[in-house]
Assembly symmetry: C2
């Protein structure tokens, strides 16, 4: 099953547009886990088991594993393996924001798709379509390109005007057409800017799915995000929350607390879908 079909099935099965970001910052883990071996994986496993019927995807961010070096990367792999083996219907998005020249990207694609076995990866657009061919050629995988990001300073380059269009609009146009030969491209559009989210939806039509970070800890409004981002079918978005869910409690009830937050956010999102 390709990424798009797997995502659609997860949207439907769990009636959910919610993605949980697996960003297990060691400093924020529940105290009783922080010192154990494989603590990132043990933490993730509990979060995953507690939320698997509430989400349309999991999104581990590579940085939170890389900061622990080879051991962290090993725990990232264990996390991806665990999801694939125990919850095979939930797609895994690797948030890695990679982007290099062609033969180098081939190695990043191997890391994501062959070593970790994830279903999708985030990449950066700056080096262009030609550089990213190794990702785009993976027809069965989701290639999620940064378009308008959720950080406060996103506009520094993304909002620059080029022939009456903003750079992020041009990225949206190029990615949704030329880059999208295999119908495997998605866009990152942040929840912190619903105006830009609505704008990109209008630009690219209903067939491109958005990964939408920025609700929760980053301050994006759920109602505005859903209304601006969804397509005519009431889907077309993967709304991510990381810290707001996984660190809902730092006690022994952390997984239960995460479930509660995930359920509440899933339901709040659904309230605005129609």
């Amino acid at each position: 099953m390709d990424f798009s079909a797997k995502l659609s099935a997860a949207w439907a099965k769990n009636d959910s547009l919610l993605c949980v970001g697996l960003d297990p910052d060691l400093d924020k883990l529940p105290k009783h886990l922080a010192s154990s071996t494989d603590s990132l994986f043990v933490f993730n496993r509990a979060i995953i088991d507690a939320t698997t019927d509430l989400v349309c995807a999991y999104k581990p961010n590579s940085a939170f594993y890389e900061s622990l070096g080879a051991d962290g990367v090993n725990q990232l792999k264990k996390t991806c393996d665990y999801i694939r083996e125990n919850h095979p219907h939930i797609p895994i998005l690797l948030d890695a924001k990679r982007g290099d020249i062609g033969n180098t990207n081939e190695h990043y694609a191997q890391f994501a798709f062959d070593y970790l076995g994830v279903d999708a990866i985030t990449i950066a657009p700056y080096m262009g379509q030609e550089a990213n061919a190794a990702f785009l050629a993976r027809a069965d995988k989701g290639i999620i390109v940064l378009c308008r990001t959720s950080n406060p300073g996103a506009g520094e380059f993304q909002d620059l005007e080029v022939d009456g269009k903003k750079l992020y609009q041009l990225v949206a146009e190029r990615v949704s057409t030329d880059w999208n030969e295999h119908n495997n491209c998605l866009l990152v559009v942040g929840a912190t800017s619903p105006t830009e989210l609505a704008d990109v939806r209008t630009l690219v039509g209903d067939d491109i799915t958005f990964l939408v970070p920025g609700v929760g800890a980053q301050g994006g409004d759920v109602e505005a995000t859903v209304k601006a981002g969804i397509n005519q079918q009431g889907t077309g978005v993967i709304i991510n929350s990381s810290r707001g869910i996984i660190f809902a409690s730092d006690g022994k009830d952390f997984a239960e607390a995460a479930r509660k937050e995930a359920e509440s956010l899933r339901d709040e999102i659904n309230k605005y879908r129609n």
Copy 2:
């Protein structure tokens, strides 16, 4: 010693502007090494020992290690540790082209500077200065921002015109001024476009160093690159070659062959410095 001082000392000590890219693609390693444990590290160690008096820097590209997963990352660390312990005067540039929101970049900075212990990292500009604060705050490290890259399709976004300037020119201006509060910013400008290289040198003046990939396998011309890129002091560039040097031979003489290529390229670069 901060990055800039370490680089200047290496330029002077080895009379070299040459950087060797440590991109040990498993498929291209000498056959007698390919199946051994830690083959990437064993390969790198031989290349390093054979070239340490000829280079101003080593640049491992993270992708070539990540594609082997946790084991590859471990070999990347061993490579960095080996250089630091045995050739401490040679700066290590981690080519990783990272770029995410603030708290995530903090983890990428930890990977590069605290876990691997490298002296500099390449980053992508698309998310802006604010997102990259965690890198830029490392005053003693080199922060090398993509400006005009060496790939054939680099111009897709980088050459777009914004108010009469190209996007890469705007990136060069912003990075060399606002981003450069700690005087720790460098720019990536490819050898495959000497016109853009000369243009960026004129724009940013003599104090910003360029990492220049693209000579050798990618086809950049050495004479044009040196003349377009160097500053008034005859330095200001780190000219990288990876495949052209490290895969000069796939026999047992690979390190010797790499030394020969490195020496020849170092000398050719020096011929055009004055």
